[in-house]
Symmetry: C2
Subunit: 479 residues, 2 copies
Amino acid sequence: MEAPDFKDFAKSMVDYIANYLENIRDRPVLPTIEPGYLRPLVPERAPERAEPWTAIMEDLERVVMPGVTHWHSPRFHAYFPTANSYPAIVADMLSGAIACIGFTWIASPACTELEVVMLDWLGQMLGLPEQFLARSGGEGGGVIQGTASEATLVALLAAKSRMLQRTKEQHPEWTEAEIVSKLVGYCNKQAHSSVERAGLLGGVRLRQLRPDDRHRLRGDAVRDAIDEDIRNGLIPFYVVATLGTTSSCSFDALQEIGEVCRERGVWLHVDAAYAGSAFICPEYRYLMAGVELADSFNFNPHKWMLVNFDCSAMWLKEPRWVVDAFNVDPLYLKHEQQGSAPDYRHWQIPLGRRFRALKLWFVLRLYGVENLQKFIRNHIAQAHLFEKLCAADERFEIVEEVIMGLVCFRLKGSNELNEELLKRINGRGKIHLVPSKIDDVYFLRLAVCSRFSDDNDIHFSWQEVKDAADEVLKTHKDK
Amino acid sequence: MEAPDFKDFAKSMVDYIANYLENIRDRPVLPTIEPGYLRPLVPERAPERAEPWTAIMEDLERVVMPGVTHWHSPRFHAYFPTANSYPAIVADMLSGAIACIGFTWIASPACTELEVVMLDWLGQMLGLPEQFLARSGGEGGGVIQGTASEATLVALLAAKSRMLQRTKEQHPEWTEAEIVSKLVGYCNKQAHSSVERAGLLGGVRLRQLRPDDRHRLRGDAVRDAIDEDIRNGLIPFYVVATLGTTSSCSFDALQEIGEVCRERGVWLHVDAAYAGSAFICPEYRYLMAGVELADSFNFNPHKWMLVNFDCSAMWLKEPRWVVDAFNVDPLYLKHEQQGSAPDYRHWQIPLGRRFRALKLWFVLRLYGVENLQKFIRNHIAQAHLFEKLCAADERFEIVEEVIMGLVCFRLKGSNELNEELLKRINGRGKIHLVPSKIDDVYFLRLAVCSRFSDDNDIHFSWQEVKDAADEVLKTHKDK
């Protein structure tokens, strides 16, 4: 494909994209196809000869769109939001054109340096302590990871290597395998599944602790667990505090946990994947009080801050525990400026990395902090609107305090009734929700996700929930 | 940013991109700035208010471009190529607009299903055995990973979990920690640094074995190492065979290694990150003879097949060893069609994943197999042209057989002389190369990287090397 064709194709795609997004409400949010729908729609093999780009454009509605779950529809309330914005899309175009691999500083200095500065911008927007920021001149700094799962794993591996070194110093007679077999980490039972998975991947034990009755992990629970394990000869090394759990968006008691971690010399990682974006609004920072006690902090601008996936922002006070632990240094990756700027390949699991800082730069400049704050506050207000509508209907109950853009609710009654309600809602095909369950109580989660969402959409979604409830309750009455 | 502004901005970026790429030869391939150059060029904080998109466009040449290493310049010969093509850039635009997170089938069926089919297309193009392909109806199938490093790690973790289970069955009295401490993997001493790193991350021993005098890992070396370790009570579980090493693009003896792995019940992973793309040309498939003996196979279309980063294609015969090993299954990720299509979240380290199959689809259709083959063959022919020019100059020697698009060469003489040569070449600023070293012999690597590269560019680069050599040798003579 030559440049003139590219220009036509790309500009045609720009129009298609604008049209897709601006009219996304009109599409059914969930596809109705069955597994295996796509294979018969395309040839069995790649074509021998080049096709014209118009053939691709014609196939989008025929092949792709029938199988797309429209995450950016205001009718989409599942999981948590994933970001999508025009500035981020354009930034990714440029990133694709430059297409450098920023594994070391010399491999493309702009890629590393813009990332260093953007993570400083972002850290300041959140009010992170200076110790986390590169601008402080200390060791600390930020990095863009692909996902919060990777950040959790990187933090776990850093914590593991720190504790290995400390323990070896105290017990030079112990083998590494012995030490690893004694390591134990901790998180809220309601922490994201990726925390458990990081433990599995890292080959260490991870204890899921019982939260309080508001589903917050508290300092006492962590202290008791740590002290019990120490008595049993184990070595506590890592705690994950979650700010905004996936199941119900509850917030662990960071200050309390941080004090315990500091006393016991345990690495504290903060996973604020979804809710972290809200800390750009000062009125929500009370939820991250104690962050100065953490060793690493992570949130996903690619969830709720209009920066397209993947852009998971992570800060470390002492990146050396990651950098030194897995440092392999072949000649073809060495360069003369080593040490004077971060070589981000040491900070992450993969070697290669895209120029993702462009997305942050474009979004922060083209929205400005003010509009990003407005965006967050709007979503939270819409969640409260849904909460109000729901609470006013006496058939329903709200099962968790609404703090961010997530409402957890259920029909008063059995789990089965609520499973039926969810099935009915998703079956009607107009809105999409996923469930959650805490302590055997099954409930529905409504997340405000779309950049296009407004109060009318919330009324629409509530009407859908209500209508589905009418149907379910009628069936039950008729039985 | 609203749709009309987006259209203007994106179309302006399309023109900028075409202009950048079509004239990329005119830019100095390596930036001349010093570490820290960027920070003074941008404000200390994110702006409070939105800026116009024109402000961004104006800053590209001022802030970003001075710090870019132009990987797509025909003057860029460092590392290995990373892909860049117009169809892939447009596909990523669409991926950014749909912006679904394809962690499960239901989360966006098209994202999963197009990936399944594209990995089948690609596998057929390479002539992979049917057992690796989903179309066979068996368990096997492909997946897009972010990088070859992740594929190596995923394969290692799968191999680890398979051997753990087997060993537990034979020795139910052994603890998991004991077993892990006995596990040992193997690779060529010349294997990529990410293999060593996968061992570190996975917490297992990895032995780097000595290759033969053509830098190929041979079956005997693997057999001897495995048998030695078994005698010493260790448990061999994993071998990585490299097809196209980074240091000199040599090819491990896959058939021999495969037979050893089959005899000893050890997982064989094939890392063909760079060279794998060449297997779309039947005349190069002799280099992957024995692939049917492998358990997993990986190559990077994002290196040499015109699909922008990140797109690392991996096939597994028995994905269940990954899927089951780290399967965490929270309610909010369950769906009714589980089991009837892959839920790719189980196949990878992160949870989230972009709609990357679009890039493959666009590239394969808009180039066609024929043009992709032509592209590969052109690069290899250009490498042979450089080889010929270099070999005809009696001051130089070729240090490794040229098989793909990489030429390894040096001035006859000391390592110091060649270090000086490289410094001189990169210092002149017209072309960019990185060095390598095998068995204490330091040499230069010239990789043909750019999609825009033609014979004239090779003559240009050779002239640069020759001129730099003239300078270096003159200095030495004068001393």
